[in-house]
């Protein structure tokens, strides 16, 4: 989880990712950020997020993204 937060913080050091819950809906993360995150997650956790799981609800918060990554690691 800490790793996910630090990835997000590298993209936007000015956002509090512990509490933010509408990263996509509020327009904080844009398409370039999503691509960076997918790449960073692959580098860090060796899991590739399949295209059909790249959905707004999985990127709206650090917690949602962490949950997705954990699910993918378990699969």
């Amino acid at each position: 989880m800490d790793k996910i937060i630090s990835m997000l913080r590298e993209l936007h050091p000015d956002i509090d990712f512990e509490t933010a819950e509408a990263l996509v809906d509020d327009g904080i993360l844009d398409s370039m950020d999503i691509v960076s995150l997918v790449t960073a997650i692959y580098d860090e956790f060796d899991v590739r997020i399949p295209a059909d799981r790249i959905l707004p609800e999985n990127f709206n918060s650090a917690a949602a993204l962490g949950k997705l990554v954990n699910e993918l690691i378990d699969e």
Partner: protein, 514 residues
């Protein structure tokens, strides 16, 4: 034909009740576009602002485009502004335009109030409900000629002041006619718009739609982050033609979305504004073996595009897709450093001449004179050319290949950016002493090196308020010391090739982990 409005009027005669422009909130037929545009034109005609700018500061969608056409009915030229532009930029542009009507919506009106331009603001709803004054509209049209300006589009400028490219109806008609031919647009075409209305890229969707009685769907921006949803949207709206910046296409293919959903209606895929990596192109071609793929190239100063290349052979991943050959009726040639023709295969500056040339930069004769110049190969009569600052060469097949920018102006995510403009803004932040923006061409990232006491988070927050999203550096690197050349200028080359000095990189990592 002398006015782009004739495209619309022709479509209204043929298919008045067909949907012309639509998005998730609003669908407008050709008839309704014409009616509302004529109402707006009537209001402007009565104000007598002919051949003057009309700013259109509205959310992207059918109404904003109708407002553009309304400005033209009023005999004016339009200047698109966007709510996503930083306040700072909007203020600069409005300042340059001076007093002028500003067509706005509920979202932009508060911004205009903040800027003290409330008196110039006209709500779209009010203007579109105006009674149509046929006589006034006829009068405006009688006096119109095809050399009248049609729009001013603002691009990034090296001094921090945006440059407004001003273009005539004639140049736009020339572009739209040839582009429609190249893309083979017809009344069955359904465009899926991706590009913002304040760039020339959107002209590819908006005007062939009018000329050919086609349809443009404005795709919600958020979908471009979620490629599977995006492809489903294309299918739902039966979109068959896209003219996107290459990075928008790359995101879809690189995230693997084409394996999950096939955009089954898509038959024409045009891309431009930046180099499209062959690796990504191959994924698209595999998913859509029947579709046509077309590379488009050209600066705003030449009304959108002046070169095109339709993919007609397989490419290897390390190859570059050519920008191909000139549009019909455009002259494209290379000049050497000494302003001489270059030998076959050698690098030269891409220069353009022809009807498609813009007039230059609005209220900026100095900058205009630097790049819109007499053809140095012609001493017999006046012949204007535009120097793109792009370097290219012709391959052995006679196809033009784009190689790089001549100066520090870069192409990033399809936008043209002067690194100098980022530096100007950064340097203006309190607590920044020196700064230098460089572009990492390999990773396609803007890096900003700076020295000073400002924290990275603070500086980024500051930059976010001053720069459009696409100009924001991907990484801020705070240095203890800026590398300097012997004559005390920032050593840009060294930063570009070597990155941050070791101790600074250490510092940078520490700052990130903090």
């Amino acid at each position: 034909m002398t006015n782009v409005l004739e495209y619309l009027e022709n479509a209204v005669r043929l298919t008045p009740d067909k949907i012309c422009y639509l998005d998730d909130d609003c669908r407008m037929t050709f008839r309704r576009v014409a009616e509302e545009a004529r109402a707006i034109g009537s209001l402007l005609a009565r104000r007598g602002v002919c051949r003057r700018p009309v700013a259109v500061f509205m959310k992207k969608g059918p109404r904003a485009v109708t407002a553009f056409l309304g400005a033209l009915y009023g005999g004016c030229f339009y200047v698109p502004l966007d709510i996503e532009m930083p306040m700072f930029r909007i203020e600069l542009i409005l300042g340059l335009l001076g007093d002028c009507p500003i067509l706005c919506d509920d979202a932009s009106l508060p911004v205009l109030k903040k800027l003290g331009r409330e008196e110039d603001a006209v709500l779209y709803e009010t203007a579109a409900a105006e009674e149509t004054d046929e006589e006034a509209l006829d009068e405006v049209r009688r006096h119109g000629i095809d050399t009248d300006p049609v729009y001013v589009l603002f691009t990034s400028g090296s001094t921090g002041i945006p440059k407004g490219v001003i273009t005539s109806h004639r140049a736009l008609i020339d572009y739209v006619d040839h582009l429609s031919q190249i893309l083979r647009v017809d009344s069955e075409s359904v465009f899926g718009n991706q590009t913002p209305l304040y760039t020339d890229a959107c002209l590819k969707d908006l005007y062939p739609t009018l000329k050919c009685g086609a349809t443009t769907v404005f795709i919600p921006k958020s979908l471009f982050s979620f490629p599977v949803r995006l492809l489903e949207y294309l299918n739902r709206h039966r979109i068959n033609t896209v003219c996107w910046v290459a990075s928008a296409l790359s995101i879809v293919s690189s995230l693997g979305a084409l394996d999950s959903v096939k955009p089954r209606e898509l038959r024409t895929v045009a891309f431009g504004s930046e180099v499209f990596p062959v690796r990504q192109l191959l994924l698209w071609q595999k998913a859509l073996p029947e579709a046509r793929f077309i590379n488009l190239y050209g600066p705003t100063e030449c009304t959108g595009c002046c070169c095109f290349y339709e993919l007609d052979r397989p490419f290897e991943t390390e190859e570059v897709i050519p920008i191909g050959k000139p549009f019909p009726n455009a002259g494209v040639f290379l000049l050497s450093e000494e302003d001489r023709p270059v030998p076959q295969g050698e690098l030269g500056e891409i220069c353009i001449k022809g009807t498609g040339l813009a007039y230059g930069y609005y209220k900026n004769p100095q900058r205009t004179a630097e790049v819109f110049v007499q053809n140095p190969l012609n001493d017999a009569y006046p012949e204007r050319i535009y120097r793109t600052g792009d370097l290219g060469r012709f391959n052995e097949r006679g196809e033009l290949i784009y190689v790089t920018r001549k100066d520090f102006q870069i192409k990033h995510m399809g936008y043209r950016i002067e690194l100098g403009e980022i530096e100007v803004v950064c340097a203006a932040c309190e607590g920044v002493s020196l700064c230098c923006a460089v572009y990492d061409r390999e990773k396609k990232r803007i890096l900003l090196y700076y020295t000073g006491e400002t924290e990275k988070g603070t500086l980024l927050g500051y930059l976010k308020g001053k720069l459009p999203r696409y100009m924001l550096p991907a990484e801020l690197i705070r240095l203890r010391q800026m590398p300097l050349t012997l004559n005390r200028k920032i050593d840009r080359k060294r930063l570009e090739t070597e990155g941050a000095p070791e101790e600074a990189a250490e510092e940078s990592r520490r700052l990130i982990s903090d």
